[in-house]
C-alpha cells in the first residue's frame, strides 16, 4: 500500500509539470494586459513600463515561466499582482472553506443518494422507483443560482433561521459554522445526490441480477442482508469513481454557489484572479486544484481496494 502511494505520488510530478506548462501558456494567450488593468485607463506609458518591470512582465516568456516554476520548487508561489499578497498563504486560506463545503456537500449527497438509489433498484419499476428517478432528474435540472437564492429568501429573509451568507471557521464558532455551511452544502449536495443516485441505481440493478445475489437469496438470507452486504458493497465501486471525479470538480471550486453565498473559497479566488489578470494568483490556485484532484483520485484508488479486496493495487503485492 505504501509503495503504491509513493509511486502514485511520484507519478504526479510529470502531470503537475504538464499542468504548469498548460496553465502558463493559456494565461499568456488570454487577451488583456495585466499592467493596464492595474494602472487604470489613463496610465502613462512610462508608468506601465515601470509596473511591467516590477511584475516581471517585461521578461521573455520562458524566463517568466522558469522563474515561476523555480519559485514553486522552493515553496515560493509568488505574490499577487493586485496587492503583493503571498499566493500560497491566500490559497491555503481558502482551503478550509472549500474543503468543508466539499465534505458537507458529499455527506448530504450520500445521505440522500444511497438509500434512494438502493430502494429505487430494489423496488424497480414501481411508484417508488419512478418518484426517486423524477426527484433525481429535478435535482439535476435545478440551476444552482436559482436554488441558492430561493433558499436564502426562505431561510434567511423570511424565516430568519440562517445567515444569508458568509463563512465562520469551525474553530471560531461551530454552531455558526454549521449554520453558514448548510445552505450552500445543500445546493451542491442536491445535484451531486442526483448523479450518485442515478449511478447507484443502475449499478445496483446490474448486481442484483448477478448469480451470487441469487445464491444469497436462495440460501435464505434476509433481504436486507443481501441488499446491503452483498449487493451494495459491489455496486458502490463505480459510484466511488463518479464521486472522485465530482469531488475533484468541487475542490476546484464551486464558483456559482460560492458567489451566491459570498463564501471566500477557491472558486471565487480563481474567477476573480482571471477577471483581474492576477497571473501569479491564478497560476497558484490552478496548480493547487490540480494537485487536489490528483490527491483525491489517489485516495479513491486506495478506497477501492479497501472495499473490494479483489482489486489489487499495483506495486502493493506480497
Amino acid at each position: 500500500m505504501t509503495r503504491f502511494a509513493v509511486r502514485r505520488l511520484l507519478q504526479m510530478i510529470p502531470v503537475l509539470f504538464f499542468v504548469s506548462v498548460i496553465i502558463f501558456v493559456l494565461i499568456n494567450l488570454v487577451p488583456g494586459d495585466a499592467a493596464r488593468l492595474f494602472l487604470g485607463e489613463e496610465a502613462p506609458p512610462d508608468a506601465l513600463a515601470a509596473l511591467r518591470h516590477e511584475l516581471g512582465l517585461d521578461r521573455p516568456l520562458y524566463v517568466q515561466y522558469l522563474r515561476w516554476v523555480g519559485g514553486m520548487l522552493r515553496g515560493d508561489f509568488g505574490h499577487s499582482f493586485k496587492d503583493n499578497r503571498k499566493v500560497l498563504t491566500t490559497v491555503l486560506q481558502k482551503v478550509p472553506v472549500t474543503g468543508e463545503l466539499t465534505i458537507a456537500a458529499l455527506a448530504i449527497a450520500w445521505t440522500i443518494a444511497i438509500p434512494a438509489g438502493v430502494v429505487a433498484a430494489w423496488r424497480r419499476r414501481t411508484a417508488v422507483d419512478y418518484s426517486a428517478s423524477a426527484a433525481a432528474l429535478t435535482g439535476l435540472s435545478i440551476p444552482n443560482f436559482w436554488l441558492g437564492i430561493m433558499l436564502i429568501y426562505l431561510f434567511a429573509v423570511h424565516l430568519r433561521w440562517l445567515p444569508a451568507s458568509g463563512f465562520v471557521p469551525l474553530g471560531q464558532d461551530p454552531v455558526l459554522n454549521l449554520k453558514t455551511i448548510v445552505m450552500p452544502a445543500f445546493v451542491l449536495g442536491i445535484v451531486l445526490a442526483a448523479v450518485v443516485m442515478r449511478q447507484l441505481r443502475s449499478s445496483m440493478l446490474e448486481v442484483l441480477s448477478a448469480d451470487y445475489v441469487r445464491t444469497a437469496n436462495a440460501k435464505g438470507l434476509g433481504e436486507r442482508v443481501v441488499l446491503v452486504r452483498h449487493a451494495l458493497r459491489n455496486a458502490v465501486i463505480p459510484v466511488i469513481t463518479v464521486m472522485g471525479i465530482q469531488m475533484g470538480t468541487l475542490f476546484g471550486g464551486a464558483v456559482i454557489t460560492e458567489t451566491i453565498f459570498a463564501l471566500p473559497g477557491l472558486g471565487r479566488l480563481t474567477v476573480e484572479s482571471i477577471y483581474g489578470r492576477d497571473y501569479p494568483m491564478l497560476e497558484g490556485v490552478v496548480m493547487f486544484s490540480a494537485f487536489a484532484v490528483l490527491a483525491v483520485n489517489l485516495v479513491v484508488d486506495i478506497v477501492y481496494s479497501l472495499i473490494d479486496p479483489r482489486i489489487k493495487l499495483a506495486g502493493s503485492g506480497p
Partner: protein, 511 residues
C-alpha cells in the same frame, strides 16, 4: 442665492442628523455590502471604483465634496489660487495624526505628491496630478502647488484618490506592500483584509473631528451577485449596499414604502454616464453617416423609462443631471427612423448594414444590448451582440479592434474628467474608445481647463457637445440614478451623489 440657501439647509440637515446620531448612541458594527472585492488598499495605485468605497473611511482627502457636490475643506482648511492661476496654496489642518501616530503636515503632503509622480513607482494617479509641477513646503501647515498652467479641475481631483494622504512613514517602510497595511488619517483605521471575504476597519479614537466617528467598526463584504447582495440586505446580514440592481428598483421602492419595512431606498441625481462607443477608425463606423443612422434609431426614453423602469435619465451629453456642467436646456432628439433611412441612403447602404456590439456580462447590459438591437433593426441595421468579460473588453477597445462597445463611466464631480480624455488624442488607447479626434474639440476642452468660472466652462462644454452630437463617436444612452439600499437601523448617513459611502456620521440603532 440658491446655493447659499442650499448650504444652510444642508447645514441644518447635517446638524439634525448628527443630533439624531448622538441620540442613537455610539458603538456598533456596520456591515456594508459591496458589489466587488476591492482589489487594492493603496489609493495611489487603485484603479477599481469599489476601492474608493473603503478609502472614504480609511483616508482623509485634502478636500471633500458635500451632498450638493460643493467642495468643502477636509485636510486642507482653506485654499487660494494666485492671480495667474499657476499656484494653488493650501492651508493644512493642524494637530492631525496618521493612524501610526506620525503627524500630518506639509511635508507629508509633499511626500504624497512625490509618490504619485515618482516615475519608478507605478502610480495610477500620475496623470491626474500631471499638471502639478512643483510642490513647495511653505511652513509646516502650508503647501504651495505650482502648476504648469492654470488647471481648473485640480481642486475636484484632490477630493478623490489623488487627494488622499497616506502616511509617509508607512509608505516608505512598506513600499509596494503598503496595500497590505494601509495607514491614513481617516475616521477609521485598517484592521484586516481577507480577499473575497471581508475588510475590517475600526474606529480611530484620535480622529480630528470631535465626537466622530460614532461606529466602533465597519466590516465590508463583497457580493458580486446582484440578487445575493439585495437578499443579504433584506435578511439583515448587511446594513447597506453600495449598488442596487436597476431592474429591481421599482419593486424595492415599493417594498421599502410598506409599513414595517426593514430597509429604505435612497435616491440621488445621476453621476455616471452610459452609452455605446463607435470605433471611427474602421468600418462600418468610420462613416459618419452610418453613425448618424444608428443614432437616429435609438429611443432613449424607452431605454430609460421602459427597459430601466425609470431608474435612469435619458441622456445626450457627457454631463449627468445633478453634476455642475449639466445643461438643462440641451434637448434629447426623438427617435427618427425616416432620418436613419435617409442617412443610410446617403451613405450608399439603403438596405442597412451589420455590426457587432460588445457588452460585458450582466442583466442590465444584456437588456440594453437587446433593446438597441431591436431598435436598430427597424432601419435595417443588424446588430450582433457579443458578450465578453471586462478584461477582454478593455483589450478590444484599447487596441480599437471593436466596432461598437457598450461601456460607461462612473463619473467625477468635475466635468473635465467626464469628457476630456474620452474624446481627445490623450485618451486613445485608454479612455477614448472611439479613436476619435477633432482639433476644434481639443481646443475647446483645453480652454475649459483654463477657465475657473463654471458658467464659462459650461458654454465651452456645450459647444463641444454640439460637435460630438453631430460627429457621434459615442452614442449617449442614459444617466443611471444613484441609489443606496439601507437598513432602517442606520442613522445619520449622508448620501453624496458620487455614490461613495462616508460613514463617520453614521450610527446604528439596536437590532
Amino acid at each position: 442665492m440658491r446655493r447659499a440657501g442650499g448650504l444652510v439647509l444642508a447645514g441644518i440637515m447635517v446638524g439634525g442628523l448628527m443630533a439624531a446620531a448622538a441620540a442613537q448612541g455610539k458603538g456598533g458594527t456596520l456591515r456594508a455590502g459591496l458589489d466587488a472585492d476591492p482589489p487594492s488598499m493603496d489609493p495611489h495605485r487603485s484603479t477599481a471604483a469599489v476601492d474608493r468605497q473603503v478609502y472614504q473611511n480609511l483616508f482623509d482627502k485634502l478636500m471633500d465634496t458635500d451632498d450638493t457636490l460643493q467642495i468643502i475643506p477636509m485636510l486642507a482648511t482653506s485654499w487660494t489660487t494666485s492671480p495667474d492661476g499657476r499656484t494653488v496654496t493650501l492651508k493644512l489642518r493642524k494637530g492631525v495624526k496618521f493612524h501610526d501616530g506620525t503627524p500630518f503636515d506639509a511635508e507629508a503632503v509633499k511626500y504624497n505628491f512625490d509618490r504619485m509622480k515618482d516615475p519608478n513607482f507605478p502610480s495610477a494617479r500620475r496623470s491626474e496630478v500631471l499638471p502639478v509641477q512643483k510642490v513647495t513646503v511653505v511652513d509646516p501647515a502650508t503647501v504651495a502647488l505650482g502648476l504648469e498652467r492654470p488647471y481648473s479641475p485640480l481642486l475636484y481631483v484632490l477630493t478623490d484618490r489623488a487627494g488622499m494622504i497616506v502616511s509617509p512613514a508607512e509608505a516608505k517602510k512598506a513600499g509596494t506592500d503598503f496595500a497590505l497595511h494601509p495607514v491614513g488619517t481617516g475616521p477609521f483605521r485598517f484592521v484586516e483584509k481577507i480577499p473575497q471575504d471581508h475588510i475590517t476597519l475600526e474606529r480611530n479614537p484620535d480622529y480630528w473631528v470631535k465626537g466622530q466617528p460614532l461606529l466602533e467598526r465597519i466590516i465590508y463584504r463583497p457580493f458580486p451577485d446582484d440578487n445575493a447582495r439585495v437578499a443579504n440586505l433584506k435578511s439583515g446580514d448587511v446594513d447597506i449596499i453600495n449598488r442596487t440592481p436597476l431592474p429591481q428598483i421599482r419593486q424595492l421602492a415599493q417594498e421599502a414604502s410598506q409599513p414595517g419595512a426593514r430597509f429604505k431606498l435612497l435616491e440621488h441625481g445621476a453621476f455616471s454616464w452610459q452609452g455605446i462607443w463607435l470605433n471611427v477608425t474602421k468600418p462600418p463606423f468610420d462613416n459618419k453617416l452610418l453613425r448618424q443612422a444608428f443614432n437616429a434609431t435609438i429611443d432613449r426614453n424607452v431605454i430609460a423609462n421602459v427597459v430601466l423602469q425609470g431608474a435612469a435619465y435619458p441622456s445626450y451629453s457627457f454631463f449627468p443631471n445633478g453634476t455642475p456642467a449639466y445643461d438643462p436646456t440641451w434637448k434629447i432628439p426623438p427617435r427618427n427612423i425616416p432620418l436613419a433611412k435617409e442617412k443610410l441612403q446617403a451613405a450608399g447602404s439603403p438596405s442597412g448594414f451589420s455590426c457587432t456590439l460588445l457588452i460585458v456580462p450582466g442583466q442590465v447590459n444584456q437588456a440594453i444590448g437587446q433593446a438597441v438591437q431591436s431598435m436598430a433593426a427597424d432601419a435595417g441595421i443588424q446588430v450582433k451582440l457579443q458578450i465578453v468579460e471586462f478584461g477582454t473588453m478593455l483589450h478590444e477597445t484599447d487596441t480599437l479592434q471593436h466596432q461598437a462597445a457598450f461601456l460607461g463611466w462612473s463619473g467625477r464631480p468635475d466635468p473635465d474628467f467626464d469628457i476630456y480624455p474620452f474624446v481627445t488624442q490623450s485618451g486613445i488607447g485608454s479612455f477614448n474608445d472611439a479613436g476619435y479626434t477633432n482639433p476644434q474639440v481639443q481646443t475647446l476642452l483645453a480652454a475649459a481647463r483654463l477657465l475657473n468660472d463654471m458658467d464659462q466652462r459650461r458654454r465651452a462644454y456645450r459647444q463641444v457637445t454640439q460637435i460630438l452630437a453631430d460627429d457621434l463617436p459615442y452614442l449617449w444612452l442614459y444617466f443611471e440614478k444613484e441609489y443606496k439600499l439601507v437598513s432602517t437601523r442606520v442613522h445619520g448617513f449622508i448620501h453624496v451623489p458620487d455614490g461613495m459611502m462616508r460613514f463617520r456620521t453614521v450610527s446604528l440603532s439596536p437590532q
